[in-house]
Point group: C2
Chain length 472, copies 2
């Protein structure tokens, strides 16, 4: 940690410093495009985001840049072949769509007008995921500049999709349709974070997610709770009972079959988790929460990294305006999501939820349940040599600091890439827990963003050797 | 039923027919005033409604008409003394405020533009309660016209409050402040309905109601359900668990102490209820519901008339917009109401709910609970001779039909009048279950509205004899 940086580290930093301002200006321009994939009226912005990125990648030097259509939002594909015929191929994954955001949700600044304060850039998508996609543009330029190459040491490919925040409903089909062009020896997913500013880490897995919306219909319209209340089923009451039935008294998910096939943590993995410098009070501050609650028998980190969950994302029904209204509501709605871990099959989870729900809705209440496209869970093979290369490159960017292993509780379509391309998936992200993903005032730490650039600048030089050591 | 109407019945009908068109025109004018007491921005309309009514009562002939201020919306008091020094005093109760209504809730016409179709007038407040207050204006004129009197046979008083749909928070204080001027030998409440168009009934009791709003606060803002879900308490989940804890598996309210003091139905009362021509399919159509569900061991009518309930009027939390949003919500809200029956004390119910709730909210969730002003339950003494007078007057209006007894599941501040004025409370209403109280497309049947006019025209002549038979 107190060693003098090697000359490559110095050269990379010098190059990056010279280009930092222009790089951040470009990123801000991208962040101004409100590419919210969940909101149909933002479809034009999502497309504009894809086109903006495509132009920027061409400017960066990628020799092939294409906007790929899907049945939903467009993705961007880019390729920059190595001039070394033996070079391995790396595919970088990220996404250019963002979560919904509105000033009135608690943002201190316009979510789509990037604002730099104290070395942080605040904007929706700053960390999730535009900032972390964008560091690859300067990273590959730095790699070329310090090595004197005219083409990267790896065949570099990028796939940047536009529907990750909507559950990537068309991503698997896209990957399947373009499997040959996406083929790679390793996939680098840049859509996760690391432990903290001072503890660089490489993520080795993400949870999957399945989500559904449930509509419950009772009376044909809101009816008088005095005249009819107590004698007819109330859909808002049923919604509450469904929520309550999600968990047992130990906070285990109570849906029959939910845990079938779950890959349990080994004792060694639990030991690795326990070694991390976890400060629950600090974690709670990051979570902006005032207490922990979760599945009995597991630590907080185990709960968010390695255990499946059932969560209520939204609930609504009846009168929510000012004052009171003595009604039995006509309808109620639930938005539920289930985080999944390795070994769980989203299709089986959907069936389990449907069966469970059918037993909870009384006569007189009609219901509909619609599932979104699921995202499968993903785990990096812990023994893969490329993992060591990623950790090594990151260590150089972080002045020789020891790089540890974590997982992420969030979800991404990494498993689709792993399954379809039959390639190992690695995670490279520099976002920190305080970045506020999906929350108001999302931001990225600019110094860490530059560490991301540095890491990739080293990695593209290091990876060929590491991957040649692997059976290809 | 096939008897020739007596001459008074004929005279009353003739008089009413002559004045029907003008009467309905006036009512429509009143219904155009959107006097929604639950919405603060409608306060001016509620005042306008009171002033409109006061002017109309003066025009009718009431000798004293005053708008009474409260700490909330104004009430209207009117008095028309008898010229008979021995005349008993009757106080009529109603309200001039209405439930919220918006075209987009499912109204076929503007809720504040009365529309007559097929003998029905559609408007918010047509039945609840402006129409049923207003029939008293023509009723007393008809009474005078057919008897040749210049003043009523009873000392007639009216109190028409402006906050009934908000739980009458200031009504008891108003009655206490003006107890001497409101003093009466009997109170006639015109804010209920009858069994059906063909089965005239007199209501003998109403349920009370206590309501509360519960706010549940979890994270300081919405947080990522992948990064934090499964390890922190979710306020929307807690809201669901509170809802589920309201009832046990037999649909009994499960709040400890909730049933303390409840006046149980006697076998004789249950037999009277069972005698009514109840058609559950027809009742369900009126309830616009698709099944019955309620407390085990009781019939549908017993459930809505004589059993206390816990109802979810509104629930909300997290993301309710289009698409999904994978968050743990920052907060959730519940609006609950509890219908109460004779023997239950709203103050004790509030304490029971607060104690119960405190045991349901986990560490890490902060909550607030606010109760509205309760409305107490009310029961008419079944043996009171005035009840016979009301039933008799109604029978004459309905061509000699047998008048039966019912209760109402809804709530009104009748109990305050009973308690403070120490007077028996009787119910006189001509609304029918299909009138859609609190629902879109509320209406009043115009022929029944005129039966209400007829009933009062007879009643003011009949009541002196009936009440003189009572210990005064």
């Amino acid at each position: 940690m107190s060693e003098t940086p090697d000359s490559a580290v110095h050269a990379v930093r010098t190059y990056i410093e010279q280009h930092r301002a222009a790089f951040l200006g470009d990123l801000a321009e991208w962040l101004r495009i409100p590419s919210v994939s969940a909101q149909p009226d933002r479809a034009g912005d999502v497309r504009r985001s894809a086109e903006w990125l495509a132009a920027k990648l061409t400017e960066t030097g990628f020799t092939t840049v294409e906007v790929w259509e899907t049945d939903g939002a467009p993705a961007v594909f880019a390729e920059w072949p190595s001039d070394d015929p033996d070079a391995p191929t790396v595919l970088v994954y990220g996404h250019h769509d963002v979560q919904p955001a509105a000033r009135e949700d608690g943002w201190h600044t316009d979510p789509f007008e990037p604002t730099v304060v104290d070395g942080r850039m605040y904007a929706r998508g700053a960390a999730d995921d535009k900032g972390q996609v964008f560091f690859h543009t300067l990273g590959v330029r730095a790699h070329l500049a310090v090595t004197g190459r005219t083409a990267p040491a790896v065949n570099l490919k990028l796939i940047v999709e536009g529907e990750e925040e909507s559950g990537s409903p068309h991503f698997r089909a896209l990957v399947e349709a373009h499997a040959e062009r996406l083929a790679a020896d390793a996939v680098i997913v840049s859509d996760t974070g690391m432990w903290s500013e001072t503890t660089p880490t490489v993520c080795t897995g993400m949870r999957g997610v399945a989500d559904c919306e449930i509509e419950l219909y009772g009376p044909d319209q809101d009816i008088h709770s005095g005249s009819f209340g107590g004698a007819v089923p109330n859909p808002a009451t049923v919604a509450g009972r469904i929520v309550a039935a999600l968990h047992d008294e130990h906070e285990h998910v109570a849906i029959p079959g939910f845990y079938d096939g779950v890959t349990e943590l080994t004792d060694a993995e639990r030991a690795l988790v326990a070694e991390l410098p976890f400060d629950e009070e600090a974690w709670l501050r990051t979570a902006k929460s005032h207490g922990t609650l979760g599945e009995a028998g597991f630590s907080t980190l185990e709960r968010v990294w390695a255990r499946p969950t059932a969560e209520v994302n939204g609930i609504g029904g009846g009168y929510q305006g000012p004052g009171g209204k003595t009604i039995v509501p006509a309808s109620a709605q639930l938005k539920l999501s289930f985080r999944l871990v390795a070994g769980q099959d989203p299709a089986k989870i959907e069936l389990a939820v449907r069966d469970w729900l059918a037993g909870l809705v009384p006569a007189g209440i009609r219901y509909e349940i619609v599932f979104g496209a699921p995202t499968r869970p993903c785990l990096t093979p812990l023994g893969h040599p490329a993992l060591k290369a990623v950790a090594g490159a990151m260590s150089r960017a972080f002045d020789g600091a020891k790089v540890r292993y974590t997982r992420e509780g969030g979800s991404g379509p990494a498993a689709d890439l792993q399954d379809v391309l039959e390639a190992p998936v690695l995670f490279l992200g520099i976002s920190v827990p305080s970045d506020g993903w999906h929350a108001p005032n999302e931001k990225i730490e600019l110094d860490l963003l530059m560490k991301g650039v540095e890491t990739t600048a080293h990695l593209w030089g290091d990876l060929p050797t590491a991957l040649l050591a692997t059976e290809r």
